[in-house]
């Protein structure tokens, strides 16, 4: 499948900003079954300098600064992607994946080959998923049992989050602690992803946070609205002996071609789409628009 993604982030300030430094994680990385064909970022007002690098996790980081006074910052990215992911999904249902029990997984995790060594850091506490309370572990243990398949448990965890948690936008912010989300049982996609990650880590397995997009399809017979698509987030669990498997608890499904990956890290902190330091006295208003079109 070929996709063209337009992502516009706009900040309106009520007082002039004299200068700003920003970091963006917007350029889609290479990932399994996904290839970036074209990419262009435009910044208004024009940035005085822009640089790009690859970070610790292999994501593309764009850094730019605007040194002239401005009242609006608008960052638009246009990407063309090839996503052929469905083919891998059958693998997940294979014995190689589903037969790994929690007990075996933990034993496999003790090995020291590079893939395992690299995955193991995703068991440790991270910036946002830190010192989570007992409620998280308890919630996780309901699905994860020593003799049960890790894949099955993870799939069930995804389903439970989908049922138990209410999608409410505006209730949580970037800095809402996991324990609060756990207790209130509501939030948005990034909260659900992080809850799942916290659960998996409490069990002792590696899990990572994936930032990306999801294509929304209009109800049959209706035309698709421009900008109706969204930034999205989901999680991935590492099943030692098999590899990484993605789950989307917001939509209760294993991501397929409609999920487009931008970047991943330990949690949201490692891959915020756009952040920055601004110098000015005013407040800002954010608006985001994402549009995903199939290229025929």
């Amino acid at each position: 499948m070929l996709y063209s993604v337009t992502h516009t982030t706009k900040y309106d300030y009520d007082a002039p900003v004299s200068y700003c430094h920003n970091i963006a994680v917007l350029k889609p990385r290479r990932s399994l079954g996904q290839e970036l064909l074209e990419y262009k970022m435009s910044i208004a007002p024009e940035a005085d300098e822009v640089s790009e690098r690859v970070d610790f996790f292999g994501n593309f980081i764009t850094r730019f600064s605007i040194q002239k006074e401005h009242k609006q910052l608008k960052v638009t990215t246009k990407s063309k992607l090839r996503r052929e992911y469905e083919q891998y999904k059958t693998e997940f249902r294979s014995d190689r994946c589903t037969k790994v029990s929690l007990e075996q997984a933990k034993e496999n995790l003790l090995k020291t080959d590079l893939e395992i060594l690299d995955a193991k850091q995703f068991v440790l506490d991270s910036i946002f998923i830190n010192k989570t309370g007992e409620a998280v572990e308890k919630y996780a243990r309901e699905s994860f049992k020593p003799n049960r398949s890790v894949f099955e448990a993870a799939e069930e965890l995804m389903q439970r989050i989908y049922t138990d948690f209410k999608f409410v936008s505006g209730f949580t912010s970037v800095s809402t602690p996991i324990d609060v989300v756990m207790q209130e049982r509501k939030g948005v996609c990034q909260d659900f992803a992080q809850i799942a990650i916290a659960c998996i880590r409490a069990i002792g397995l590696p899990a990572r946070y994936i930032s990306g997009y999801i294509e929304t399809l209009p109800p049959p017979g209706q035309e698709k609205l421009i900008g109706a698509d969204a930034s999205h987030a989901w999680f991935s669990i590492f099943i030692p002996g098999f590899g990484w498997v993605d789950f989307d608890p917001t939509n209760n499904q294993i991501p397929g071609d409609q999920h487009l990956v931008v970047g991943w890290g330990r949690d949201y902190y490692d891959v915020p789409p756009l952040k920055g330091v601004v110098y000015g006295s005013g407040k800002s208003r954010l608006s985001v628009e994402v549009d995903i079109a199939r290229v025929v």
Binding site: Y11, C20, I127, P272, Y279
Partner: protein
Amino acid sequence: MTVATNAWFTKYFTDYTYDEMFTPDLSVKEDWQELLENFKRIGIDGLTQRQNDINWLLEENGVTYNVYNDPNGLNRPWNLNVVPLILQAKEWQKIEKGLKQRAHLLDLVLKDVYGERKLIKEGIVPHEVIYGHRGFLRQCDKIQYKIDKHLLLYAADLARGTDGRMWVVNDRSQAPSGMGYALENRSTANRVLSDIFAEMNIKRLSEFFKEFNELLLEASPDKVENPNIVILTPGSHNETYFEHAYLASFLGYPLVQGNDLVVRDGFLFMKSLKGLKKVHVVLRRVDDVFTDPLELREDSHLGVAGLLDVVRRQNVAVVNPIGSGVLENPGLIPFMPAICKYFLKEDLQLPQIASWWCGQEKEKDYVLKNLANLVIKPIDRTNREHIHFGSQMTEEELATLRKEILKKPYHFVAQERISFSTAPNYSKGTFEPRNMVARTFTIAGKNGYNVMPGGLVRVAPERGKLRVSNQRGGTSKDFWIIGDLKSEETANYSWNRKSAVSASGLDDLPSLTAENLYWAGRYVGRTLVNARFLRMVLKQMNTPEISSNQQTCSVKMNILYKAVTQMTGTYPGFMEKNKEGVYAIDNPLKEMMAVVLDRNKIGSLANSMMMFSNSYYSIRNLWSSDMWRVFENIQKLWRNLENEKEITVNKMIKTLNQLITRLIAFMGLIEESIMVEQGLLLYFIGLQLEQSMLTITKCRSLLVIKQSGQTEYEVLESLLSSHESLNIYRYSYRSYIRVEPVISLLLMDLKYPRSLTFQLGRLQKDISRLPHSQKSDALMHYEKYVFEAFSKLRLANSDQLATVKENDGNIRKDLDKLLEELSDLLFSTSQTISNTYFNHTYKQSQLVDQNFPL
């Protein structure tokens, strides 16, 4: 001399464990013997005197250590004991070698963890020790540096262990403190014990600091002739701020805060008075995560947004590199022997404190079993507050800790609890053994690492206490390495300075320093003028006439009280009833006391003094020791008044008298201790501006409303006396005091230094020397305001100003209008100067608000 014969040490042995002064067979070590001979010669009284001299010198020089949340005030005096710690060169050489090896090794670890991570890949170090340490900053991964060594400055805390050898107990790598204190200790000891220094072969520190300066110069990524080096401090509230200022003035580099620096076009710049100046090297005292709010801790206001990227582009060198905090990691200790084998194929030379990392099963079990006898630390928080001393914990606390360890075992290290050696401390006429820790400093040089021959020795605050920490009080010692040969000081610490920032002029003054000097001038002016005015009013309250001539007096006193409120801006004050409906005029003494003494009342004298202290303290690297002495003196004077049980008008007058004289002494010292290029000009501008503004307020309060005969006379007399101008008036006019000549003298006189015209003339001259003023023939906006004010005054006529026109009741409208216009112009001047030169007013904020516990 045997110890037994020395009465000083009779009580010394009661709880003897292992003491620095003695050999294992309890005889005094040779070099200590020599020290004791010297002490014997000096005698017990002499030694007490020397200790007093040290205390006095440290206080004189304002050596302090800030203690956060200290009820006794922010700046605790630094303590240095008269008895140094002595180590023989032979033993020291071994330690030195060991420190060099350890620095080299840690440098390799640093390069590896931010590079290939072979230590993890090859199983030498468990991944959690690095990945689970909050000091491992993924943002610093794969950063390339132009310099060969990455770890440039390394401090190790050493203590003598049970086997009689010096052990490493702590590694400090991100922004180690103590070098400046060690230098200050040496310079103080050298002065007070100069006779002993002449006799004993004490290794000198000057060569080390010369090497340190070379290190900073060599660190510059740009091979320019004179790299610009700055010292980045978190600010005057930091616990070791004294040291930052001390090193800045010793090395001759500007002391800056995050706000003084800015990133543009991939380079780091210092905001100076003239504009932006490129910075090549930053010696930072700000911890890793606070250095860049863009990529690291978002809520930090101590760093510079974008700094890390400038480092990445190799356009600036930060000493030590950002990310080096990962080495402050007791989790590494158990693996150091293996790391040493791996990298160097040799054995670790310095012993380390026994440590168990709980990330390993066997170790964890041992720790859990022996929890009560161990010291437990998180691998990434090694400051005191996070350390658990098992022996001092209750069963319940131990159980909680056990649970915490089980939840996140990799995060904890347990260490053996041992009693380190003691060293003699002189206290109240006797010597006491105190536990001690020595901080050593190792720096990168052209050929390997160099070690400071000495260091900072700290001892426990009390006999028998194990904890040694400055945060908890305690005292320090000079650290003497005694060699066989006399070592000579490099002539007066002077060396060929290559850096240019220090020598260049006003243009390069960091704008924060400029701003502090400006405000220092304003506050000192405000304090002086208001102190004089308050003194005058208090004196009038105290005169017997107040009862004899009720009518005039109460009218006059009313006018003066209101002027007090207007001059100090302590509204409602005497002007109207306050919120509780109380009229201050009914109890003037109470309000006057508040205006003098209440530091929480904005505008009060005590409040101005506090602001004045703050701005001075922030620029202390510019001070001379005389200034510090007078400053301390003023503080003491004030504290004494505050501590009086019953405060009377007389006591206040007496204190104000002393305050005024000292302030004048202080102002005199400022003028001769700081150079115009260092920013004295800004101080003058602030001072003149403040004095002018207050002269205007004073004249408006006292001259605008025409009073009847006797009252007017008395008000004018009060005005002249508060302006210290009574004698000049009498000398110049030889007449009864009238309003026209008073206006003429105080406002319009071109030659009298206390007149407004004179002050504005001087202000005009001073601001024309500011960097932007000299750009073109046209005046800058702030110059225009002063020019306009000056011209208005020159064009005015005192007779006309003194007249009350027919329909104006008893108000001198022309005078009021002129003074109002002048007041507005000066306000605009102050505003525009601030905006042009000290523009730190940009508020730093985040696009996305994310508070996180990094």
